[in-house]
Amino acid sequence: MKYILMMNGTRASFAEYAKWSKKDMEANVAFMRAFSKQLKDEGVYVATEGLGWPDQAKLVRAGQDGTPITDGVFPESKEFLAGYWIVDVESSEQAYEIAARASAAPGPGGVPGNMPIEVRQVLGSHSDLGL
């Protein structure tokens, strides 16, 4: 079964990240690279992407004639998706275990950041026979 692990950051945490020291940032990037490689080696990797930052984000709605109306992100938005992993695992517990590893990515001073990771199941077309 497939799960998407979504790393969400607050607007403030993106601003904080931009101020990290070079060393801290390099450690974080190295962790993310190694983490992706681990998922591949474990045979559970499906996809991962990092996203552009909230200051580039736009909210889009269809106007009367279907033309896009774009707007900056509303100031009241508190959480933004920073990036995600999709993994194919045997159980929800295994997905949670992987999410916890992602959450432990090092922050400033190498201390685990403990970022919240939202875990959601990806729906498939296969339905169990119930036999």
């Binding site: 045979g43 990797y45 499906v46 077309s125 296969h126 026979l129 036999l131």
Partner: protein
């Protein structure tokens, strides 16, 4: 995906020959992991060359020769590596192949391969992938495609499975008589999982290629030929035939699920049903009745009813009673509740469901809510049914199933007085 066989007869031949050739190579070189890679490479080479150059005179000997050559290369490079490390020379010429000498043990080989690939030391996902490749003869790309994961991920999963087999040092031989029954159950379970995984609602052209249900039936038929006297192998094969016979009726034009009672029974595959029934009829009198045979018997009763109202529910209930006594499986208990409701009324079915509320294995399963919704609806409580259909929709991991459950809720709530919908 460029190295895929495009010619179906060649594709079928390769899948049939793969376990035979693999058996020969493993016997010769005693290294399952490397042999499996070598056979996969030989098979890919065949898929490229045979459509272009024509079939070789003896396709199996051709594959064996190429696989032996790959193995010899592998051993040479391993030896060279070791020589670099230890300066120890290894004489390789003794490994020149005597092609196709092990023909008579094909059948045992295939059986041993199945036992190895479905070893209980492996996780289900690893066992499935390895079985499809080593015994099913599918390419890594095809298996990856069927499970919608990237090819390197599937390659890694297979390679880890082989490593686990290596680490557990399972010998390449048939299990002892005592072990055999239990090991065979594990094989049947893996084949059943492959079938179940492939029993998908979307049968688009790209999914047909590596149609997992079809592969599961092919492998179970192979196992049935190897173990014709095992009644549960026959039972599983019958179950697959009788279930798969409804495939075309099971989904609508948009891939939406159609439940048994609403299926167009003219679309059921009568010939396949006849095959399944004949197999089951020949098997049941042999005596050793197990869960797969009983489930096949239930499937046969559904298949033999011309109209839903002709279904022999008392007999289905009797079969579920037997199954329930035989195994502690909450899914069986759920199905039994449905059958009891059809025989004795919805109240009886709901009573049986209540007993499952505290069973952690199904308490949070969408099927418990779905069955409850169905029975509550039968009992005439539309509002309750809407609530349970929606609860089930929130829990299922299948998109077509969620759409079906929400449609049931929508159908019922459109029949309700408007005030009930304004929450």
């Amino acid at each position: 995906m460029t190295a895929q066989p495009s010619d179906p007869p060649i594709e079928h031949l390769l899948r049939e020959l793969t376990p035979q050739v693999l058996g020969i190579v493993v016997r010769r070189f005693r290294d399952f992991a490397a042999a499996e890679d070598a056979v996969q490479e030989a098979s890919l080479a065949a898929a490229m060359q045979w459509p272009r150059d024509g079939l070789p005179e003896n396709p199996r000997a051709w594959l064996t020769r190429v696989a032996f050559r790959r193995m010899t290369d592998h051993i040479r490079s391993e030896a060279a590596r070791r020589r670099r490390e230890s300066e120890a020379a290894l004489e390789m010429d003794q490994l020149a192949p005597s092609v196709d000498a092990a023909g008579e043990s094909d059948q045992d080989d295939t059986l041993i391969l199945l036992f190895m690939c479905c070893h209980t030391a492996l996780t289900p996902a690893s066992a499935i992938a390895l079985t499809l490749r080593a015994v099913g003869g599918l390419t890594t790309a095809e298996i990856a495609h069927a499970f919608l994961v990237p090819e390197p991920t599937m390659a890694q999963r297979i390679s880890r499975a082989k490593q686990s087999i290596k680490d557990s040092s399972i010998p390449f031989q048939l299990p002892t008589a005592e072990e055999r029954a239990q090991r065979l159950r594990a094989v049947l379970h893996v084949l059943y999982l492959i079938f179940s995984e492939g029993y998908t609602s979307s049968i688009g052209p790209q999914l047909r290629r590596a149609d997992l249900s079809h592969q599961a039936m092919r492998l179970t038929l192979l196992l049935h030929h190897l173990q014709p006297d095992d009644t549960e192998v026959a039972g599983l094969l019958a179950l697959m035939l009788l279930t798969d016979a409804r495939r075309l009726a099971r989904t609508g034009a948009e891939g939406e699920l159609i439940p048994l009672a609403q299926q167009d029974r003219a679309l059921w595959d009568r010939q396949q049903i006849a095959e399944g029934v004949a197999l089951l009829s020949a098997t049941l009198p042999k005596g050793a009745v197990g869960p797969y045979q009983l489930q096949a018997a239930v499937a046969a009763i559904h298949d033999e009813a011309t109209r839903p109202e002709d279904t022999d529910w008392p007999q289905i209930l009797a079969l579920y009673d037997l199954l329930n006594r035989m195994s502690d499986n909450p899914m069986v208990a759920l199905n039994r509740a449905v059958a009891a409701a059809m025989v004795h009324g919805a109240t009886k079915g709901l009573e049986l469901l209540d007993a499952l509320k505290d069973d952690a294995r199904v308490a949070e399963h969408h099927r418990l809510d779905a069955v409850r919704a169905h029975l509550v609806e039968l009992a005439g409580d539309r509002e309750g049914a809407v609530r349970h259909y929606r609860a089930a929709a929130g829990k299922t991991a299948s998109l077509p199933e969620r759409n079906y459950l929400l449609a049931q809720a929508a159908r019922l709530s459109s029949e309700l007085p408007l005030t009930n919908e304004q929450e």
